[in-house]
Symmetry: C2
Subunit: 346 residues, 2 copies
Amino acid sequence: MKNKRYSIKSIAEELGVSITTVSFVINGKAKERRISEAVTKKILDYIDLIGYRPNQLAQSLRTGKSKIIVCMMEDISNNFFSKLARLIEDIAYEKGYKVIFCSTENNDEKSIELIDIFRERQVDGYIIIPSLGIRHKIIELQTANIPVVLCDRYFPDLDANYVVIDNENAAYQAAKHLIENNFKNIGFITTDVEQTQMIGRQKGYVKALNEHGLKPNILTLSYKEKVTGLSKAKILDFLLQNQDLDAMFFSTNYLTKNGLAVIKDNFGNAINNFGLLTFDDNDFFTIYTPEITAVAQPLEEMAKEVMVTMFGLLKNPEEKMKSYRKVILSTELKIRESSLEKRISF
Amino acid sequence: MKNKRYSIKSIAEELGVSITTVSFVINGKAKERRISEAVTKKILDYIDLIGYRPNQLAQSLRTGKSKIIVCMMEDISNNFFSKLARLIEDIAYEKGYKVIFCSTENNDEKSIELIDIFRERQVDGYIIIPSLGIRHKIIELQTANIPVVLCDRYFPDLDANYVVIDNENAAYQAAKHLIENNFKNIGFITTDVEQTQMIGRQKGYVKALNEHGLKPNILTLSYKEKVTGLSKAKILDFLLQNQDLDAMFFSTNYLTKNGLAVIKDNFGNAINNFGLLTFDDNDFFTIYTPEITAVAQPLEEMAKEVMVTMFGLLKNPEEKMKSYRKVILSTELKIRESSLEKRISF
DNA sequence: CTGAAAGCGCTAACAT
DNA sequence: ATGTTAGCGCTTTCAG
C-alpha cells in the first residue's frame, strides 16, 4: 500500500476510468448517471480498500458549502451556554454538520470580527446570541442570503429568525410566585445590558410588583463588573442599604452565584430566612441548602428549534427571505425551598 | 458598489495588474518581491475600499493549512471541560486559529469517526482528551505527521505529546490531608474507566491510606451509570453498607454532584459531620455549606501548555517527530470546611 | 518590477 | 455508459 495521498484523480488513473466516473460513484450518482454495475463496484471496492476520503476542503471550494455552522455565544464556559452548545452540537453532527463555537463576551467588535472571519471561511450558517451593536451585521448576513438564527435575544425592530423565551412572562410569574409566598420586599439584581432578554425580565418583575402594590427595588450591575469582581461588593452594599429586603430575584446565573456568595459570607444562616429565586437553572441548585428556585429555560427545545430553523434555511437557500421563523418558548418555574414562605421566627 | 463577490482575479482586472501582483501585495510580500510603491498602494487602497477578504477555503486548499484546530473532549457541557475549552479558544484565536470543539462521551467509535472526519477537512492539529481505545488513531496521526497533543490523560506505553496533571500525587496529598484531619474511614468514589487519570487518583488514595494503616474502601461506578442516573442509588447503597464511613473522596466532578445530592437527600444535616473532598474545583464549592475542599486543576496552565506544544508543532512540521513534549502539572488542594476535622459532637 | 501559468482536489455541464 | 474540460480562488515558480 502506497504512502501517498489518494485523490479522485489517482483513483481514476489506478482503475483506468475517468475522474468523472469516480466522482459520480462516490457521490452516489452511479445509477442516476447510469454507470455500469461492474465499474461502480470496482470503484467502490477500491475506495474501501484504500480508505479513501474526499478532501472536504476542495469539495467546499467547489460547491461553496462548508458544512460548518458557527455558533457565537457570550461565553462557552458559562453553564447555560455550554449546556446549550452541547445540545446544538449533537443535533448538528447528526446531520453531518460541524459546529465552531466562539465566545464573544458580549463584545460588539469581537463579534463583528468573528462574523467576518467566518465569512471568509464560507461557513454555511450562523447561530448567534447577539450583543447589542451587531444589528447591522445581521442585516448584512441576511442581505447576502446567509442563514442566520438568533437565539436567547433578538432585535425588536429587526425582522429575523430567532428562538427566544418569553422572558417577561417568566419573570412575571416568578415574581408573582414570590409575592404569593408572602414576600413583601423583593429586590431584583440585574445587569445593565440593554438586551431584550434582560429588559423583558425586568419588565416582568416590575409588572408583578406593581400589580400587587409593591415597590420595585432594582440593583443594576455593570456587565464589566462581571470581570472585575466588583459586583459582589455592590450586592453587599445593596443588601446593607436595604435591610428590609426579604427576598431577592437574580436575573441571570452568574449574578446568582455572586449573590449566594455574598449572603453566605456576610449573613451566614440568614440565607434560610431569605426568599431566593433566579433565572437559569443549575444542577447545584437542587443540592444547595436551601434548594434554589429557578426559572429553567427549555434548553433541549431551544436547541431543537434553532436547528430546525437552521436546517430549513440550509435546505431552501432561496425561500429563506420570504418569511422569518420566530419561536418564543416558555419556561418552567422550578419551585424549590428557597422561594417558599418563611415560617421561621426571627 | 457592485454586489458581486470579489476575488483576487476581479481585483486584478479592475486595477489592470496581474493576479500575482495582487496576491503578493495582499500577503505582505510587496517589498520582498520589489513591487513598486505606487502599485502596492493602489492595490491596498482598493482592497480597503471594497473590504476584500481572501477566501480562506481556497487559500487552505492551496496551502494545505486550514488554520483550524480541533479539540475533542468528553463533554463540552461539563464544567471542567467547558472552562478548559474557553481558555484554549482564547489562546487559539489570538494566533489566528479557530477551534472546533466536539464531545466524544468517551466513546471510541465516535472519537475515531471524528478524527477521520477532521482529516478530510485538513485540520491543522488535534487536541485530544482521549478515550481508551483510540491509541491506534493517535499513532496514525503521528505517523501522518499531524500535530496531536493529548490532554488530561495519556497512554503510558505511547510516546506522545501530552499535558496532564500528577494525579497520583494530587490524590495522595488530598487523602493525606483527610487523614491528618483525623478521618479514619475514608471512602473513595470513582468510575470504572481505566484511564490514566482515574488510575492515578485511585493509586494515590490507596497509597495514602496504606501508609497510615487505614483500609481503602472504594466504590467503583460504571461510566454508563452517568447517563442512567443509577449512580446515585449505588452511592446511597454504599453509604448504607458502610455506616462507619466518616469521609468521602470523589474522584471526579460529576460524582461529587451526585454524592452531595445523595447525602443531602438522605442524611440531611449530617453532611456537616462528614469529611468531603473532591477532584475538580467548581465555583459553587465555595458557596456551598459546608464549603467543599477540592483538588483544583491548573486550567490556565493546562490550556497554555497545550497550546505552546501545539504551536510548536504547527511551526516546525518536521521537527515534531524528534521528541515529544510531556508536561506534568501539579494541582492545588483548596482546603475548605468540608475536609477539616469535625469537632461537632454527634 | 510584473505576469503567465500550473495546480491544490473536486464537481458538473457538456460532449461522445 | 463514460470521458473531457472548465473552473472554484488562491499561491508560487519561472519567465520575462
